[in-house]
């Protein structure tokens, strides 16, 4: 570790992994509720468990991004973090606010939570992924601003690199676009139109900038390839991301009361959205092939390559599968969407956070790479989680194809609940795949504690 202040990211990474475990636990509950409808009812109804599952995901990814920024920004800017104290303070504020919100979901009926937190004053609750009480949303803004100030001051007063400038652009976009979560008009079409400015422009816009810059940073470190080459790739990838992704928002404007021309614009531009992800895959493998050094952290290299491949499959291929308007007419809001959502979030954002943790954690412990045995355990966890996520996606896709056929496509469409009963076998298999994912995650956590076969097995810095 070059700068002492980089160590604050350890806190962020620990919180991220802890919340990740909670997220998967609730994922398993949800999966079971799909087949045993009254499981935990009425104590934890499906909607509550789902809120916990998706909100934990968002919060732990944000912890991961912030941890990544605190780690890589000082090293890139070649100076200590502007204020490590602020970073630690914001960590605790974010963690406590997040924990209170999740407890609120679990312990108070949602309508009661809305009343308690004064949703009447500025109603923003009850919209997918933005279920947080308004006061929590304000807290998120405060934390984001403090974080941006800290990281921004570090970057702007230090060495400016393409990686940090792209990261800063992505993080600023993240904070600015989140402000649309406070706009909640009664007009449902307007509400939905701008809701996507948070959701789509995050995950298919500015988050990809953050993903790209973290990946570029790790690739420079583990391959030793010339920075000039990597930065050129980064520019091209994020250029394609924004060129396709911004108008690509149109694939959400097909059936929500917006004009018909979005069917053309959304189809064409989102059909191009796989391009930046494909380039990312070519980029990662090319850099590893041209490597000038053999970094001892094989696990980090595996995560980096895995991110590129799985992001392309999940976001690129599974996104393309249902993005053309004539296809989406039948698949919109079915298990196809769920399939795509799972692999895209895992492939792009979960894996990039695990990549930077894999690379940075041993260094923060004073080693260049973890000991061999710990790396083997970590790579097992990589394969278990990744392969089981592929199966979760395949089973949900099977469920979605059948659902689309039975409920939407045939001449004698069946009611929703009848179709759900018919596709239950797919849900059971998804749940089994989910259990394997959990085993992978437990192994992942264990890999941090795994001792080498002999003392001093780890590669010293």
């Amino acid at each position: 570790m070059k700068y002492a202040s980089q160590a604050v990211s350890k806190l962020y990474f620990m919180a991220a992994i802890g919340l990740f475990v909670g997220q998967i636990l609730f994922g398993l509950i949800l999966g079971l509720q799909y087949v045993i409808g009254d499981f935990l009812f009425p104590a934890i109804p499906f909607n509550v468990a789902r809120m916990v599952h998706t909100n934990l995901l968002i919060v732990w990814l944000l912890f991961g991004f912030m941890g990544a920024a605190y780690y890589l920004v000082p090293e890139e800017a070649e100076r200590e973090l502007y204020s490590p104290k602020l970073a630690v303070a914001l960590f605790w504020i974010f963690l406590v606010a997040g924990a209170l919100t999740i407890l609120g979901y679990l312990l108070v009926p949602y309508a009661g939570l809305a009343k308690m937190t004064g949703n009447d004053l500025l109603p923003t609750m009850g919209r997918e992924f933005l279920e947080q009480p308004t006061i929590t949303k304000i807290g998120i803004v405060v934390v984001a601003l403090g974080f941006l100030y800290n990281v921004g001051m570090t970057i702007l007063t230090g060495r400016k690199t393409v990686i940090t400038m792209v990261l800063l652009t992505g993080l600023t976009g993240l904070a600015v676009l989140f402000l649309f979560s406070f706009y909640n008009p009664v007009n449902l079409v307007l509400d939905k139109y701008y809701w996507w400015w948070v959701v789509h422009l995050w995950v298919e816009g500015v988050w990809e900038l953050i993903l790209g810059s973290i990946l570029a940073f790790v690739l420079i470190k583990v391959t030793g390839v010339d920075r000039e080459v990597i930065e050129k790739w980064l520019y091209v990838i994020i250029a394609m991301t924004l060129i396709t992704g911004i108008i690509g928002t149109g694939h959400h404007y097909f059936w929500i009361g917006t004009p018909g021309y979005w069917q053309w614009l959304g189809s064409v531009f989102s059909a191009l959205e796989p391009i930046p992800f494909f380039m990312m895959t070519v980029f990662a493998f090319n850099m590893v092939n041209k490597r000038r050094l053999n970094h001892p952290n094989k696990a980090a290299v595996l995560w980096a390559e895995g991110t590129a491949v799985m992001a392309f499959l999940g976001a690129g291929v599974w996104g393309f599968m249902h993005t053309l308007a004539p296809v989406n007419y039948y698949t919109h809001g079915t298990q196809i969407t769920a399939a795509h959502g799972h692999m895209a979030f895992y492939g792009a954002y979960v894996m990039i956070v695990l990549t930077i943790i894999s690379y940075a954690w041993p260094i923060m412990r004073g080693e260049k790479a973890a000991n061999k045995r710990a790396q083997v355990v970590e790579m097992w966890s990589f394969w278990l989680m990744t392969v089981s996520m592929v199966f979760i996606t395949l089973f949900l896709t099977g469920a979605g194809v059948l659902q689309t056929w039975l409920q939407r496509y045939t001449d004698t469409p069946l009611p929703f609940m009848e179709v759900q009963a018919k596709i239950a076998p797919f849900y059971w298999m998804r749940e089994v795949a989910g259990l394997v994912f959990m085993i992978g995650l437990v192994l992942y956590v264990y890999s941090f504690f795994a001792k080498g076969e002999s003392a001093g097995d780890a590669t010293p810095v």
């Binding site: 509720q33 799909y34 409808g37 009254d38 009812f41 009425p42 109804p45 499906f46 909607n47 509550v48 789902r50 809120m51 949602y110 309508a111 009343k115 949703n119 109603p123 609750m125 009850g126 997918e128 279920e131 393409v162 009664v186 007009n187 449902l188 079409v189 139109y193 000039e228 930065e231 050129k232 790739w233 520019y235 091209v236 250029a239 924004l242 060129i243 911004i246 108008i247 149109g250 959400h252 404007y253 097909f254 059936w255 929500i256 009361g257 004009p259 979005w262 614009l265 007419y329 919109h332 809001g333 079915t334 769920a338 409920q407 939407r408 496509y409 469409p413 069946l414 929703f416 609940m417």
Partner: protein, 144 residues
């Protein structure tokens, strides 16, 4: 990538492309905002519909259902439930009211939300309003 394609060219594509498409997106948004009044059924928004949307949000209905195809996939689409229930707000109210507190053994069941008569009427009116938004003929059939 070869030496012909330089980093500054890549940077220019990034900046130029982003700015161009952000502006195009804003222009399209401006145009959409102009055409929405003909499609989004805003004339039907009454104080009762507004209350209905609030009831919808404060009971996290989107946590199980989809509305115009967006939301969770655990329970039926509600954008067209008014039509599916025979153009009847009474049927919607009766369904919500009749949910058993402890659920149905082994099956999915909607929670009992204990809504007041005013809230029930409001949510039913909100769903009626939603069903009359011009959604380009989506969903494909009445099953949602």
């Amino acid at each position: 990538m070869s030496e012909v394609f330089t980093k500054s060219m890549a940077r220019n594509i990034y900046y130029g492309g982003s700015v161009f498409f952000i502006l195009l997106f804003l222009a399209l948004t401006f145009d959409t905002m102009g055409t929405l009044p003909e499609q989004d059924n805003r004339a039907a928004i009454t104080p009762q519909v507004a209350l209905g949307k609030k009831v919808w949000e404060e009971n996290n209905c989107i946590g199980c259902h989809t509305l115009l195809g967006e939301g969770a996939y655990f329970a039926p689409e509600l954008g067209n439930v008014y039509k599916r229930f025979g153009n009847s707000t009474e049927a919607i109210k009766a369904f919500i009211k009749s949910r058993p507190v402890n659920g149905v053994p082994g099956r999915r069941s909607m929670p009992q939300f204990n809504l007041t008569e005013e809230e029930l009427e409001a949510i039913a009116q909100f769903l009626k309003y939603s069903s009359e938004i011009d959604t380009q003929d989506w969903p494909p059939n009445i099953q949602g």
